[in-house]
């Protein structure tokens, strides 16, 4: 396969289990149907095969990857094939002793998420009393010599707190701060009414984070990710379907993104059945949205089609019931009215509360 399709990053979703119940979790709404089907040897083989395919970055994530007893062995195996390994964690459950063991095994970076800048509001989003514990873990990360990424998912309840979040990240000596607006798929779509901010909120947050970005240049990397609901054009979701990212689900499905297995009619294969290279190259699910043959208008003749690749296939499906539609987030999409009406709705206060992540298959809205 040409370099056009070379995976650089493997997202290893080690388990969908998690002690937190975040209302914008990116795991599938029906994650309870997927078990932890891969054992240590399976994952180590996946890492080796991914590296042979060209992968250099590994994200150990979930769910909560700390729930795997074999995390130590997985980190050691990843380092053995020289992968840059990033642990993406809530920090729960973790002891300082266990974290200390991970550094000599080859863990390169630790990403800790917090939900807000104070315990009550943070814990309300997480559905668990976790905030103080997370700060303690973030401090251990730096004390033990790891680089620290602090990740905060943004929405209407915390967008006004950018300056406080930046101050907290500085106090924790974070190396990278990700201020990532919620992407409205999975649980976040279920809770969209309660989460989607207004344009005015976003403008202010963007200004505050741009100021922090400039002030902290060279010291802390400050990244602000706009929500595509307020962008003129959609995101190049995953840098294009099946181009740069490989996601392996807890039960071994090889996917182009976190939610692709929730799209009906697509066939994805399992690492237990075939070598990763063959799946990446041949699997019908991966090839479904590669290239431009699948594109409808206005994408097909759009000069941006090689920039954003038509946007997010999952968003297209969840909003229009057609995964091959132009992403409605695009201002040129015939379905863009769906986005405009959601923005309109965001101008008034939400009328309901949150639906927390649970393992029960939930009814989709």
């Amino acid at each position: 396969m040409s370099d056009e399709y070379r995976p650089y990053t493997l997202v290893a979703e080690l388990t969908y289990r998690c002690p937190l119940r975040c209302v914008y979790c990116s795991n599938p709404v029906d994650y309870g149907r997927h078990t932890d089907g891969l054992d240590t040897a399976d994952w180590l083989r996946v890492f080796r095969e991914a590296e042979e395919l060209g992968v250099v970055q590994l994200h150990l994530t979930g769910g909560e990857p700390l729930l795997r007893d074999d995390l130590e062995a997985l980190i050691e195996g990843a380092r053995a094939v020289d992968l840059y390994t990033n642990l993406i964690t809530s920090g729960i459950p973790l002891s300082r002793e266990r974290l200390a063991r991970l550094r000599p095994l080859g863990l390169d970076n630790v990403q800790v998420s917090i939900q807000d800048v104070a315990a009550p509001s943070s814990d309300r989003i997480a559905g668990l009393r976790a905030f103080e514990r997370k700060l303690e873990v973030a401090r251990w990360v730096k004390e033990l010599g790891f680089p620290l990424t602090l990740n905060v998912v943004l929405h209407r309840e915390n967008l006004g707190h950018i300056e406080e979040i930046v101050a907290l990240a500085e106090a924790l000596a974070a190396d990278r701060l990700e201020l990532a607006n919620t992407q409205y798929v999975g649980w976040a779509l279920v809770n969209r009414r309660a989460l989607l901010p207004t344009a005015a909120q976003l403008d202010e947050a963007r200004r505050a984070s741009a100021a922090a970005h400039a002030r902290l240049r060279g010291k802390m990397e400050v990244l602000f990710v706009m929500p595509d609901y307020y962008s003129e054009f959609p995101k190049a979701c995953m840098d294009g379907w099946g181009r740069r990212f490989l996601v392996v689900s807890p039960d071994g499905l090889v996917l182009p993104c976190h939610a692709a297995h929730t799209l009906p009619g697509l066939v994805f294969e399992n690492v237990k059945d075939r070598p990763l290279e063959a799946i990446w190259r041949d699997s019908p699910g991966f090839n479904a949205f590669r290239g431009e043959a699948w594109m409808p208008e206005p994408c097909k003749s759009c000069e941006r089609r090689a920039i954003d690749f038509g946007g997010c296939r999952c968003q297209a499906f969840y909003l229009t019931r057609n995964a091959a539609a132009t992403d409605p987030a695009c201002s040129l999409s015939p379905d863009h009215g769906l986005i405009e009406s959601a923005r309109q709705q965001a101008l008034s206060a939400p009328d309901g509360g949150f639906e927390y992540r649970t393992p029960r298959p939930a009814a989709r809205k």
Binding site: V56, Y84, P147, D175, R217, G218
Partner: protein, 101 residues
Amino acid sequence: MGTGGRPRVIALDSRPRLAAKARIRFDRKTARYLLLYPERGLVLNPTAADIATLCTGEHTVHAIVERLAEKYASQPREQVEREVMSFLATLAERGLMQGEP
């Protein structure tokens, strides 16, 4: 490098060291070295790879320039020095050097 920041003056007697988050590896697919850090990577040309490899905190900028001038003897020394300074500034700009920027 005029990449949007204030100009940086790099002292010839400083001893540059890569940040803890940065790690160099060889990429078989492109036969280039990569400088990897969280979520990102830089593809290094051969000169940049030589410079990055020497950013261990042991060598002064002056020594790095000397080392490269020796290796790339066909190039004018001033050009080598410019390349070293420019690449070190890029690294600092991206937060890939230890210590205060």
